[in-house]
C-alpha cells in the first residue's frame, strides 16, 4: 500500500517551472490587523501603499513597522546583544504566529477549439504562502504551489531570502523579480504576453528565474513618486542551470507624482481618498541578456530590452509595455521579435473593476510569413469580499492562425 502510494505520488507530482510570486499574503493581514485592500488594488495587484510596503522589505514605511505590528514577535535575542557582537549572534525576531497563508484558485474554462469545450477545473491551484520579516534587516517570501496540469499535479516551491539594508538597498537571494511589466502582480488570469513569450530555445520571463538580485527604491522630491532599480544574475532556466552561462538583467523605473515609492505622507493630501487611488505617471526600462539551452540544438544567445508606461489617474489606469528580443543561434539567421500590450482598467466600484487588454506578438519581425498573434482580453474582476475574488475573462484572437482559439474563463480565488 505504502509502495503504491509512493508510486502514485511519484507519477503525479512533477517539478514545475516557477510561477512568479502571484498572490496576496493574508499573513500580513494578521500581523498588522488590516485588510487586504491596505496593500492591494485587487489582490494580487498592488496599490501605491502595497508597493511602498514591499519596497521597505515587507515593512511599514519610515521605520514604523514595530509600532504598526499588532502581533507580538518572538525575540531571538534582546537588543542588548547588539553591544556584545561579535561575541554573540546578532539579535533578531520572528513572527509571533506562523506566517503561513493559503490561496486557493478554481477555474471554469471554455475553449472554443477543445473537444471538451467547458470544464470545471476546481481546484486549479493551491498555494501555501509564507512571508515576513526576521528582525530589522532580513525578510523572506516563499510558496509551495500545487497546480493541476491535465490531471497531473505539478509542484513548485520557490522562495527568496532578502537582506534589507535600507529601502534603497536590498539583496535578494532565490526567486527574483526579473519581470518587464509594470504591476507584474497582475489583475488578469491570463499572463502578460511578454511574460509568456518564448525565445527559440524556450526561455521565457514566466519560468524559473533564480539567482541574486540587488534592488532598491527611493522617494522623489517632496516625498512623491520616486525611483526603483534592480540588477540581477540568474541561472535563467531552472534550479540546476542548463548551461555554463549566467543571465543578467536590469530594470529601472521612475514615478512622477503619487505616493512615494518607499511611502510616507510628506507632501500628500487630497480632498479625495480611496485605497485604489494613486495618481501618477511611471516610466520604466529593462534589459535582459541570457543564454538558453535546449537538448540537441545549439545554445541561443539572446537579448531582451524594452520599456513601459504606467499612468494612474483617478479611477483609471492605462499602461503598456513593449519588448524587443534579439536571438542569435550559431548557424542560423538572427531573429528579432517584438511583443507589446496596452491595458486599461476602470474601477466602477471598489469591488468591481473592468479591464481590457490588447496584445501583439510578432515572433520574427524580419519574416513576413510569420504572422503576428494579436488578441484582445476584456474582463471583469469582482471582489465578493476582500479575500474572495471572481474574475470573468474572455480572450479573442484576431490573427488567422488563432482566430478560432477564443477562450473564456471564470476564476475564483480565496485566501486566508
Amino acid at each position: 500500500m505504502k509502495k503504491a502510494t509512493l508510486s502514485l505520488l511519484a507519477t503525479a507530482f512533477m517539478i514545475l517551472v516557477f510561477a512568479a510570486e502571484s498572490y496576496g499574503i493574508p499573513a500580513f493581514s494578521r500581523k498588522y490587523r488590516t485588510s487586504c485592500s491596505t496593500c492591494h488594488y485587487a489582490a494580487p495587484m498592488l496599490n501605491g501603499f502595497g508597493k511602498a510596503f514591499k519596497n521597505n522589505g515587507y515593512r511599514y514605511p519610515a521605520g514604523t513597522d514595530p509600532e504598526m505590528t499588532k502581533e507580538e514577535p518572538v525575540s531571538l535575542g534582546s537588543e542588548g546583544y547588539k553591544r556584545v557582537w561579535p561575541e554573540a549572534i546578532w539579535p533578531a525576531d520572528i513572527p509571533g504566529t506562523s506566517p503561513v497563508s493559503v490561496w486557493a484558485v478554481g477555474r471554469i474554462n471554455y475553449a472554443a477549439q477543445s473537444d471538451v469545450k467547458w470544464e470545471f477545473e476546481i481546484p486549479h491551484e493551491v498555494e501555501v504562502l509564507y512571508a515576513g520579516t526576521i528582525g530589522e534587516s532580513f525578510s523572506f517570501f516563499g510558496e509551495i504551489e500545487l497546480e493541476n496540469e491535465d490531471n497531473a499535479t505539478e509542484i513548485a516551491f520557490p522562495f527568496a531570502l532578502q537582506y534589507d539594508g535600507s529601502p534603497s538597498f536590498h539583496v535578494r537571494m532565490g526567486m527574483v523579480h526579473a519581470d518587464p511589466t509594470p504591476n507584474h502582480l497582475k489583475l488578469t488570469r491570463n499572463h502578460y504576453n511578454m511574460a509568456s513569450f518564448r525565445s527559440r530555445n524556450g526561455w521565457r520571463f514566466r519560468d524559473e528565474l533564480v539567482g541574486l538580485e540587488v534592488w532598491g527604491a527611493g522617494n522623489g522630491s517632496g516625498g512623491r513618486g520616486g525611483f526603483t532599480y534592480r540588477l540581477g544574475v540568474v541561472n535563467g532556466q531552472g534550479l540546476s542551470d542548463m548551461n555554463k552561462e549566467k543571465d543578467f538583467y536590469g530594470k529601472a523605473t521612475y514615478k512622477i507624482g503619487g505616493l512615494g515609492e518607499v511611502g510616507g505622507t510628506e507632501g500628500a493630501g487630497s480632498e479625495v481618498s480611496e485605497f485604489f487611488l494613486d495618481d501618477n505617471l511611471t516610466f520604466g526600462a529593462f534589459l535582459y541578456s541570457g543564454t538558453a539551452s535546449k537538448t540537441a540544438v545549439a545554445d541561443e544567445d539572446f537579448t531582451v530590452y524594452g520599456g513601459d508606461v504606467d499612468f494612474w489617474y483617478k479611477r483609471f489606469i492605462l499602461n503598456g509595455a513593449v519588448m524587443l528580443m534579439d536571438s542569435r543561434i550559431t548557424g542560423t539567421p538572427k531573429r528579432k521579435s517584438m511583443v507589446y500590450y496596452a491595458q486599461a482598467n476602470a474601477v466602477f466600484y471598489p469591488w468591481l473593476i473592468g479591464l481590457v487588454r490588447y496584445e501583439w506578438e510578432d515572433r520574427d519581425t524580419g519574416e513576413d510569413l510569420v504572422k503576428p498573434v494579436n488578441a484582445i482580453i476584456p474582463g471583469v474582476t469582482l471582489m465578493a469580499r476582500a479575500n474572495v475574488k471572481l474574475m470573468f475573462e474572455f480572450k479573442k484572437f484576431f490573427d488567422d492562425a488563432n482566430k478560432k482559439n477564443d477562450t473564456f474563463g471564470v476564476q475564483i480565488n480565496f485566501g486566508f
Partner: protein, 196 residues
C-alpha cells in the same frame, strides 16, 4: 445670544453646584466581548440649553486604529481628526445626519475637522483606505453622559436634580431607556443589561 448663554451657564452652574447628584452603575453587555464603550446619557434636560463648546474634541488615527473608538460630544462640537501614522488615512461617514462628510486624506501630524450639528445622531466613522477601521461619534444635546469602562462601570457627575430619561447606546447592542429621578445630593445607581 450672549445673555442666553450666560443664563444657561448660570442655571447649569447653579444646578450642578447646589442641587446636583451623581449617577453611576454597571453595564453588562451580553453577547459582546466586553462591557465597555456603551454611552449612558441623559436624554433631554428641559429648560436647560448648552452653549456649543469652543474647545474641539479630538479623534486620533494611530496604528490603523481610531482613538477613541467611541466619542460622545455635545451637539455643535467640532471634532479634529489627527493622522498620527506615516500612512495616508481618510475619515468619512455614510450617515445622513453627519451630511455624509468625507474629509479626504492628509499627512501625518495634521488634522482635518468636522462639526457635528445634529443631536441624536450616532454616525459611524470610517477610513476608505483601511476598511477595518471604525469608530462612532455620539452626538448628544447635553453634557450628562459617560462611556462605560471595559468592566462596565460608568459615572455621570453633577446632574441637576430632577426627573429624566436615562438612555444607553451601544454600537452593536440594543439601546434601553429608564425613567430616573436624580436626588439633590448623593448618587443614584442604575445598572443596565443590554443584548442584541
Amino acid at each position: 445670544m450672549t445673555t442666553r448663554v450666560v443664563l444657561s451657564l448660570f442655571v447649569f452652574l447653579a444646578s450642578s453646584v447646589a442641587i446636583a447628584g451623581d449617577i453611576r452603575g454597571k453595564v453588562k453587555a451580553k453577547g459582546w466581548k466586553h462591557s465597555g464603550d456603551a454611552v449612558v446619557h441623559i436624554d433631554k434636560t428641559p429648560g436647560i440649553t448648552f452653549a456649543v463648546p469652543e474647545k474641539h474634541a479630538a479623534m486620533d488615527q494611530k496604528n490603523l486604529v481610531f482613538i477613541p473608538h467611541i466619542l460622545p460630544v455635545l451637539a455643535g462640537t467640532t471634532v479634529d481628526y489627527q493622522n498620527s501614522d506615516d500612512v495616508l488615512h481618510n475619515v468619512f461617514s455614510p450617515d445622513q445626519c453627519a451630511e455624509k462628510f468625507n474629509l479626504g486624506t492628509w499627512p501625518k501630524g495634521q488634522t482635518r475637522s468636522y462639526s457635528f450639528k445634529e443631536a441624536g445622531c450616532f454616525p459611524v466613522m470610517l477610513c476608505n483606505v483601511h476598511p477595518e477601521m471604525e469608530a462612532y461619534v455620539v452626538v448628544l444635546e447635553n453634557p450628562y453622559y459617560a462611556v462605560s469602562a471595559k468592566d462596565g462601570s460608568y459615572e455621570i457627575k453633577n446632574v441637576p436634580a430632577g426627573k429624566y430619561t436615562l438612555k444607553i447606546w451601544h454600537e452593536k447592542l440594543k439601546g434601553q431607556s429608564v425613567e430616573i429621578e436624580v436626588p439633590e445630593k448623593g448618587e443614584l445607581v442604575v445598572d443596565f443589561e443590554i443584548r442584541r
